[in-house]
Symmetry: D2
Subunit: 465 residues, 4 copies
């Protein structure tokens, strides 16, 4: 089965050029001058042609940070692997990496099995897993090898959420040393959670229970110091480290400083930290609860610092931390107490629209757009070559992006299974006309063409950072 | 009882001028032009005159960091309050602050009582206490007030020594908040100890057991990140913090950065970090054990950074962390394993000689010498006015310093109760000809004139930082 | 002639203590416990007693940056040495350093003679001179020695005001090398003037002629880069450098950075940069002209940075750059063109009041107040011992400061010869009840008691920085 | 005429993939899976096939900093456009940008004409020009537009070489403002030359005349401050700036700092600053003269800082500043005086070999190699799309790079017209087997196949930075 995507402009993390793209089954076979300009002996037959005139061709988006079907605080994130990956695909993201979560005292293998079951037969986009380790006794350190052998080559550890997810510095350090031996990557939730819990307790005892206190009890300093500590521990362990969902200017400062010293420190941020702010948490009544995620939204002035970090390569990835909870029945669990509101926001579908907005505003260029949304994620997480690139031999995961398409971000127009949209009513210009996964068109002019189970699990390689 | 110190040059933390100093019992009564130049009606009668011609007059040295008679690792530091304070006085230090140590599970009051017993009737110099808290459940947080009321207005917490002294970030944070309420100061041992213990365990398992591994398993990064965390926790708690025995350039960097942001962060270093280096730890055989203290001695290049920090006011205090252990029977406990060597070095007697050496080398000026060794310590720790100043109304703790005196630092010439001297054989020029405590000459030309119990306990005020 | 200042609190750059101060003619003879508490044989006779109960005693203020009787832009600064030093004394400043200005092509000696004539017989406060060099051919470099020998041990050079005062980098560098040989200090006006003139020319050509354009055409970047260059040239010449009237946060950053690297870089700021802002320049109509000085007033947010710099010792001196021009006939020269407004503001009288305000607001402490206004200026500029200290043997230049005194800063209440006050109507609390110069009371409860010519020229020593 | 480059691995600034490359005349027509794997209807006919099995395909190198046939210090750089571009091509560089130099008082157009004559009919590689402006009166500012219209869209200005090339800050600033209007880019030689000349004069007067004094009289501080000033002037003019041949860690620090603040500041370094050091200048006798270039080679420890800058995108380009002078008759002009030695070194041919060495050492990855040597230079200097990319539609400037090729850098093996090689005898692994320019093989296994005049002038677009 051969397809032609004709007349588009190919954009990679460094190049921009007009070309036709030929697909052979699931792979990119060739990138050529317009077939009409080729000599007769080169005019091939295609089974199908997509006309991309006036449109851009990107490698499919990769969102390395999602939480689908995840139990949290007595409820479960509202998107499962079917609805979540479908929404991703609608938004131009063809690969996600979700998090399997070890039960404290349980094995990593059990966690992986559980998450394979959640995804299998349901996912419509391709998917991989990180492994969240919640304790790391010797047996689990040993077991890490088996997980890596299964293609789960990154482990996420928490400095926050005491008693639930938090690991102490010794466990973290042993986990880092072990990851170093295995070539696996440590991803860190780098907020320092122990003092945060004291701040929460004090706020509650003072009757400060509105959503905005979520931000006021998780100050920038807590994230900055956690980020610094994560990097210092990694430096002592002589391994790379990847900071997830960096939200604050001062935390970025710590990453930059480490990189200036030559350390292999990496960080992702998320659209919510680039487009929303603490003001949203302070919306009247309980409305701010829609914006509770962790780390919290920060004051407006952080935005420009984060964009600068993206431009200067101090931030390498923009992922979503997609973790939706409905206002009704879910966010409402914390109606009287911000600390009971499930933490998380939807975003897997809106990421590419918002980053494109930044391209139009001149905050980043076309190539950096592709780099942070697809190419660098694929390199850091061991999928490059197959994913993350629009090049000969790669999986034909391609987004045909229509810069003229008008889209309104809204709970009505979008496909995430959640009863609100944090960007409700925001009009953007530019969106996918076609989304191809391994050569198959799965979204075409807002029609969804894939079936549950079409998504494949991706065994990732270890990193080469 | 009136005394005259005639013909000397008074040096304070900011001024230098020739003057006579009149003492009335235990206080400084006047600082005047040479009495010989005063008119007849002003020629007073003195019971005793000390001729300080060609000599400097400093306020008595204050060493805010000593460990006398302290149990550690199955042995006890070799100087008790008698020998330790006598050695201090010999070296021009008339006030020390030692550390009372809470037993885990015990009360702070018990600890204070224990230390009062150790000092009472023995000390020859004046003394005060910090309180080391080793756990901080609600009852202890409550009890902190009583301790402050007793004139013990600073609490030391540890980020190092897991299972022995280490407090987790939540306890530290609660301690800081409580200190903030009481106006007490938190002193922090800021090495991040949890990963250090893993490094030690791995070094030992590889057979790396010589003294130098003490330094190699406690890297600069561990101190830098601990320092950063201590400051960040204090920032979140909105209280000042004082970093004890800062040894590493990168840790200093963290302090400077915080101060540049306007935070009330303070730090002390010690002579061993200014004059000795990791090379001493690497001396052949077991000789390096003499130099095991914590944080460890650092490579030579840190020296210049620390001096710069002192000159630029990023370091405010030079104390000693005097904690002597004899080579025989004590340091020897770790003959086959650096991690079993008691941590600590003698220094209470040599501090002023070494800092004077720095004056002669142009590293600091006369006033900064007085400032870091006496005046600022007294201000930070709530004793200023009584101690730390050579001014009318202050305790007549005065060092008459002879810049021509030749001294050899040696176990033979010095008075600390320990069987080695880290600076053995080093010749310096300049030392005390007389040391006065509350108006009484306690050292005169190397003769010791005070008796055990002459030292008084000082109730300190809370800080005004 | 002997005087007693009884019952006050002496404040030096590092100490604070209650004491009586005895004066013998022009010198401080003794600082003692209250004479009433002294034994009979020590009760001296005094010719005069000043009761300073409840008041502070400071060393007389030193303002190292004034421009009295200075020709500028076709007019002359409105205070001469009589009115200017009288106003200084009223405000607690007993010593000034003014600037002699070489005529381009003329000799330094001529300039010095001219300025001696301006001051002699008129000054009521003591005074010294810096020398402004406006060209530096070999003969002038040679002549610098003679100037130093005359007690004028600092040379000010300009990076701003092309064609008038600006020296190119080669002349500056030669001047620095020569100063290094002589032990003299280079003071630098560090704005980069050449691009500024282009910005002014472009603003004027666009019709931007209101006073606020004075600030908009002299951006922070111009001062920051000049400051960096001044320090770099001094680094290459291996000499210290002193930045005058630093106004901008980014320039301070450059000083701090240099000091962190261990370079002998020093800087002064002025009250106008701490208390006034660019908003004052933007006052309606021509009112902003009152606030035209150079460098220009900066936006409000610089204030906190400068205070932090003062607290952290990155700024060492607060001087005034007192250079008054009346609105009428003088400032008015630029009614239609900001670039024609004479640059300068009055301030010599209000400095101490404003810095005291900062003490009350907790921005600096008492000792730092004395340090930046008197002690450090005397040290940097070779007058310490005689001036800048309230200590035995020093000139009895003493300010008796009544913290309860209520003062309104106003053209009506103050004594500078200029028709406006930049702080008009501002009420402050605290001011001098008595000002003594070399033992004589020259201001007493707002009465002025000195006569023109009472001020003496001070030959300064070379620096020991 | 159609060519196939088969079986190679294509490397771009972000991607790496195995593919065949089809050329149609001078352009890249397609990049495809191996033609053998394509279906019959897609098997095209090629006139010529190059087998690149086991080899890499890069876009042709772009060296944006050469000085061919350039008069300097009474002699002329020894490579002209024929020999220089041939050597470039041998080394894998298919495009250079050389510098036309305005005669002081002459027009820019004359300069451009002169350089067109030098290049025309001689160059074998494609070439473009920067324009060096040596004075900038209004007529020249006006004329800049014409030069831009001729496709010369960057102007180089000098802060060094007083009386010859140096412009004062006002001329520089006017030039920047004008460049801003035209969309042209300012390139800056950022050493502060005026104090340097004084240092040279003093060194010579002390008899310090050996080559190493070239470095000792051009200290790092001179480059750091010039770099800071260039960026500050550009900031004031609101234009981007490009620092040429950055050599020193502290200058890099200034660039990084500016970029962290979000300023459009860019910088290139050169292989000599990455691979050679001040030690080479200190070689015995006159041998060091071979290594005299400006800025001078720096002490070894700068290397790691510069590599870090390259990895972190603080340095964007590696060019050569190729400016060869023979030892005989040319460098010898300064046998008795380092300041008379013509400044410059050969390097246009060795650049890619050396950068490849860095890839093998892990200092940079394959993509960054392409980025700094070709892609980013083409983007910054307005040639991207045509040059700097191996993509459909681009000029078929392709280097087929054999990683197994063994090369000895030597005056015997290389083709630059100069009687020494700074890397003499250095063995490297990896070099071009074929070099194609606009589809024609111009170097094949060390055979040169192009003729003088084959190189074309490239009209560059204005920048979009």
């Amino acid at each position: 089965m051969r397809k032609l995507i004709a007349n588009g402009t190919v954009v990679t993390a460094s190049e921009t050029f007009k070309a036709d793209v030929w697909l052979n089954d699931d792979k990119v076979e060739a990138i050529t001058a317009p077939v009409g300009t080729l000599p007769k002996d080169r005019v091939p037959q295609f089974d199908e042609t997509i006309d991309a005139k006036g449109q851009f061709l990107f490698p499919g988006g990769i969102d390395v940070h999602t939480h689908l079907d995840m139990p949290f605080g007595g409820t479960t994130s509202s998107d499962d692997f079917e609805t979540g990956t479908r929404a991703a695909a609608y938004g131009g993201t063809t690969t996600i990496i979700d998090f399997a979560i070890q039960q404290k005292g349980g094995t990593l293998t059990e966690a992986l099995d559980t998450w394979h079951k959640k995804a299998s037969g349901k996912a419509v986009a391709d998917y991989a897993f990180h492994m969240i380790a919640t304790d790391l006794p010797p047996a689990r350190l040993e077991e890490m090898k088996r997980i890596v052998d299964e293609g789960v080559t990154s482990f996420k550890l928490f400095m926050a959420y005491p008693n639930v997810l938090l690991l102490d510095d010794q466990s973290i350090f042993r986990g880092m040393l072990r990851a170093g031996e295995l070539g696996a990557l440590i991803c860190m939730h780098a907020e320092t959670g122990l003092p945060i819990d004291v701040l929460i307790e004090r706020a509650r005892s003072r009757g400060e229970r509105a959503p905005v206190y979520h931000a006021l009890t998780r100050p920038e300093a807590a994230e900055a110091t956690g980020t610094e500590r994560a990097i210092a521990l990694a430096e002592m362990a002589k391994v790379p480290v990847y900071i997830v969902h960096l939200s604050a200017a001062r935390a970025l400062e710590r990453v930059r400083e480490a990189r200036d010293r030559g350390l292999p420190a990496f960080a992702e941020t998320c659209p919510q930290y680039l487009f929303l702010s603490q003001d949203d948490l302070a919306r009247p009544g309980f409305d701010g609860a829609a914006y509770i995620c962790t780390p919290p939204l920060r004051p407006q002035h952080h935005h420009e610092q984060l964009w600068r970090g993206i431009r200067n390569h101090d931030l390498q990835v923009v992922a979503t931390d997609h973790c939706p909870f409905c206002m009704k029945d879910q966010k409402e669990l914390g109606r009287d107490d911000f600390s009971k509101v499930p933490n998380g926001m939807p975003g897997v579908e809106s990421r590419m629209y918002l980053l494109w907005e930044a391209v139009q505003q001149g905050k980043i260029d076309l190539n950096r757009f592709v780099d942070i949304s697809s190419t660098t994620p694929s390199k850091i997480f061991g999928m490059y070559g197959k994913k993350g690139t629009l090049a000969v031999g790669a999986d034909a995961d391609i987004v045909v992006w229509d810069p003229q398409k008008e889209v309104t971000l809204s709970v009505k127009t979008m496909h995430m299974k959640v009863d609100y949209n944090p960007y409700e009513g925001k009009k953007v210009r530019g969106g996918p006309s076609h989304v191809l996964q391994r050569g198959r068109v799965i979204v075409k002019n807002d029609q969804f063409l894939a079936r549950p189970g079409d998504g494949q699990f991706i065994r990732r390689r270890t990193h080469t950072l």
